[in-house]
């Protein structure tokens, strides 16, 4: 029992954080669709989960979790979860696996409505079909998040993939939950900074208990959602894996949505504008909390599975 990240896991996250600070600053969210992707690819970020015999690092989902939190904290656009987590599991046993480090991949799992970030993808996995960028026609769909665009796709050529998508979907769900933790942490930090700086009635608004207590509640929600995400990454292939992934996604989604709601309220009117960068993180909280199953759907799954498997640990 050592429920703490290793130095290697934290070092990877620190490196990713540095890259994102340099190459995915908030202003890039207004002008670029894929900031920092080239630098992250050069770092090997997208082949962390690719097996070593396919030129990857051959690590486990848990090794990537703190770094995924950083991609959420930076509001990194693009199919991060799909490329870094879902694709290595979906393309297992295919020649494309070895190319993953430098490709952008997006995914639509069966039963899910749209394809995220299809405009950026070199490869698409639609259900169990592998589709190349050239073979696909994209129809944009309305969405809340300007940096996570949604599409419908049409195509005539594809390759059938072997195996099942269960593990990839579960991994993507947990990875998205990790990003939501990062989104929530950024929203909390930004709002605390604002509440310290903004004065009304001659005092910083963060000195008022009505503001303090709302921010304390966000801190609590994030603090207790995070360990569920970490556990879900560890139990990916265990009997409790599905239940743990759903618990993580429900709690992380709820924490991020609370953080967004509170951030907007504390910022007041300036937060309700296109001018402030805050809107990118608000939108990410909403889009990711809905991605790969919303909170109610995951809680229903927890309810159905609650006594099916022993607790882990």
């Amino acid at each position: 029992m050592n429920f703490a990240f290793t130095d290697d896991q934290l070092a990877l996250a620190a490196t990713v954080r540095d890259v994102l600070r340099a190459h995915c600053p908030p202003e890039s969210l207004r002008t670029e669709r894929g900031p920092a992707w080239a630098q992250l690819a050069a770092l090997g970020f997208f082949s962390v989960l690719v097996p070593a015999d396919a030129d990857g690092l051959g690590l486990e989902l848990i090794d990537l979790i703190p770094a995924l939190e950083e991609t959420g904290r930076a509001c990194l656009p693009g199919p991060v979860v799909e490329t870094a987590v879902a694709a290595p599991y979906l393309l297992h046993g295919t020649p494309e696996l070895a190319k993953l480090g430098s490709l952008r991949v997006t995914v639509r799992f069966d039963g899910h409505p749209h394809v995220p970030d299809a405009d950026l993808a070199d490869l698409l996995v639609i259900g169990r079909r592998l589709v190349s960028r050239d073979a696909v026609r994209l129809a944009p769909r309305p969405g809340a998040d300007p940096c996570r665009k949604l599409f419908d796709v049409a195509y005539d050529e594809w390759t059938e993939l072997p195996g099942s998508a269960t593990r990839a979907l579960r991994g993507a769900t947990v990875a998205t939950a990790a990003q939501l933790i990062g989104v929530a942490r950024h929203l909390l930090d930004t709002t605390v900074d604002y509440a310290r700086a903004r004065t009304q009635f001659g005092r910083p608004i963060g000195a008022f208990q009505a503001v303090k207590h709302q921010l304390a509640d966000v801190a609590i929600a994030v603090e207790f959602a995070a360990p569920l995400v970490h556990r879900a990454a560890l139990s990916l292939d265990r009997p409790s894996g599905e239940r743990d992934a759903s618990a993580a996604k429900a709690a992380a989604g709820e924490a991020a949505v609370l953080a967004a709601r509170t951030a907007l309220q504390a910022h007041g009117a300036i937060g309700y504008t296109h001018e402030l960068d805050l809107r990118f993180w608000l939108a990410r909280a909403w889009s990711l909390s809905a991605a790969y199953g919303g909170t109610a759907e995951h809680r229903a799954r927890v309810r159905a599975l609650v006594h099916d498997a022993p607790r882990f640990p």
Partner: protein, 365 residues
Amino acid sequence: MDLDFTQAEQDFRIEVRDWLADHVPAALPSMDTREGFAAHRDWEATLAGARLSVVSWPAEYGGRGASLIEWLIFEEEYWAAGAPGRVSQNGIFLLAPTLMRFGTAEQRALLLPRMATAEDVWAQAWSEPEAGSDLAALTSRAERADGGWRLHGHKTWSSRAAYATHGFGLFRTSDTRHRGLTYFMFPLDEVNVRPIAQLDGENGFAELHFDGLFVPDSMVLGDVGEGWRIAMATTSSERGLALRSPGRFTATADRLVKLATGDPVLADRAARCWIDAEAYRLHTYATARRLMAGAEIGSATSMGKVFWSELDLRMHALAMELLGEHAAATPWLDGFLFALAGPIYAGTNEIQRNIIAERVLGLPR
């Protein structure tokens, strides 16, 4: 990072589970009645006989030197088995950690073994009529006497004091707000104790009137004037790991989801409680790991206190909704009344949210 128990930890869990299956009594009367207090004290002695009353203490004081992880395992099994509440809780979870850290070897040798067997049962004496959330405003005082101190003043909301044998609390030894407080331990037999019935009608609290009770220097815990700092270390364990381990909430959540099988809206709320109980449990494993590595948890314990106390209340309030008038005939009603106190004791949740905002997040005072 891993979440696997060692073979020794798994063996310990099985030993505890088997022992509890053979020994847990049928429901005892409330520990806040004379009869129930005696029954709970007997149960503590039975636990101590198996060296299970204070597993994390060193063997010389009646424990097993168990790790924090093993203590958490014990707690999970204890509450899952439906075992009685701990009448010695104030002593073993609040005073004892303070004695281990700030007490003298003589105090530990004298007090801890008797606490482990519930020969002595300790009550806390923090609050006063005019010092609740603002604890440092307390005015009960200790005056210098030959070889010790004489206590004067009025304490209230002293949990377990109606039937306990001993008490501990803060008294003023000078006028300086925080640095003028000193931590005393004393027998209750010469204190004027007035029991106070709680919401459930039983004497869970008492008022304590001190009129010159003599306390020898050997029963001062830590240095004179250091009481506030020492008590804060105690309340930090009270809010955090020690007082409300996750085991009781995971056990309640398991019972709740079994109760909430019908209406999907109520079942959804039960599922959320179950997830939160798991979250508290996992968070505690992470905290235990950090404590075992020598870290201090400090103000972050306030987050745990708000989280578990409001989770406990949400679970019991949901059970009240689910059971309607049937609730009165089940342990859920007593649990509900008990859970209602959670957001108040050990520092109200309003005070905890202030602490989180100011000391964890860095918002201005």
